[in-house]
């Protein structure tokens, strides 16, 4: 894939992962990066330089909404939740992802 197309592809994937993680419970940016790392068993380590622009992009599109709340330690943090629009977006992206990954698996699984 050409470089810019590849990064577009990864950006879309990151958006989907973020939406999925935030769907689980309202969570702040730091929590999201921790979760992605934990759940993917350290395969994915989201850089702050990608995470925060993505969060702001998603919030701006109305897929996420943010709210300042106190954390467990009493510190204020920006917690994100998924909006209705975001939920629909996630469903669409997941369907798309299943299709793509299914197709890739079919091709890779072809007996030589």
């Amino acid at each position: 894939m050409p470089v810019d197309q590849k990064s577009e592809f990864l950006k879309g994937t990151l958006d989907m992962l973020i939406l999925k993680i935030v769907m689980l419970e309202p969570i702040h940016g730091y929590g999201i990066s921790q979760r992605i790392q934990q759940i993917s068993k350290d395969v994915f380590q989201v850089q702050q330089g990608s995470l925060y622009p993505a969060l702001h992009r998603l919030e701006d599109r109305g897929w996420l909404q943010a709210e300042w709340r106190a954390t467990g330690t009493g510190r204020e943090a920006k917690f994100y939740t998924v909006t209705k629009k975001g939920r629909r977006q996630l469903e669409a992206e997941m369907r798309n992802w299943e299709q793509v990954s299914g197709a890739v698996a079919l091709i890779l699984g072809t007996a030589e």
Partner: protein, 208 residues
Amino acid sequence: MKYWLRRILRKERTEHELDSELRFHLEQRVAELVEEGAGREEASRQARMEFGGVEGIKEECRESRRVHLLETFFQDVRYGLRMLRRNPGFAMVAILTLALGIGANTAIFSVVNGVLLNPLPYPYPEQLITLHESKPNFQYGSVSYPNFRDWQKSNRAFSAIGITRYTAFGLTGMGDAEQLNGVFISSDLLPLLGIKPLLGRGLSRRRR
């Protein structure tokens, strides 16, 4: 419209929040590293290194909002144009409505401007008109004095006709010479306009 206004008002808050959000992340990471047994300073140094340039990240966050702003703007414009092309009847009605609205507004403003905002400073300004002599190359040409006399003699349309001509005089004998702008007027003009000179007296018919 409300959407744009809200955006502008929100800008400052967004900036402040962006700062707090990134600072929170950094502090969380430092706390985690300290828990893992690093010294406070060492932890802070490592967290900063992992984080990379804060200003760069901020700029990218701003950018991701700005890009979207432009994108949606162009999308709106494209959508509008597409809809207009798809419904030429509707487009026609919309354009006509706009044209009529703007036209009517301009017309009414010209009247209001002339009558209410800038009326001529004379009694009965609505009865005053300017006459010109149309010539092939001058739509609003000047009037020759003999023609004016003829107009005056055969006039039945107006209660009076006066005439003016712009001129300039040279003022000398008091230091540097100076050009003074003036106007020649016929004796009928001041009574016609219904005004009196501030200084001296008006011209009388007899003295002409």
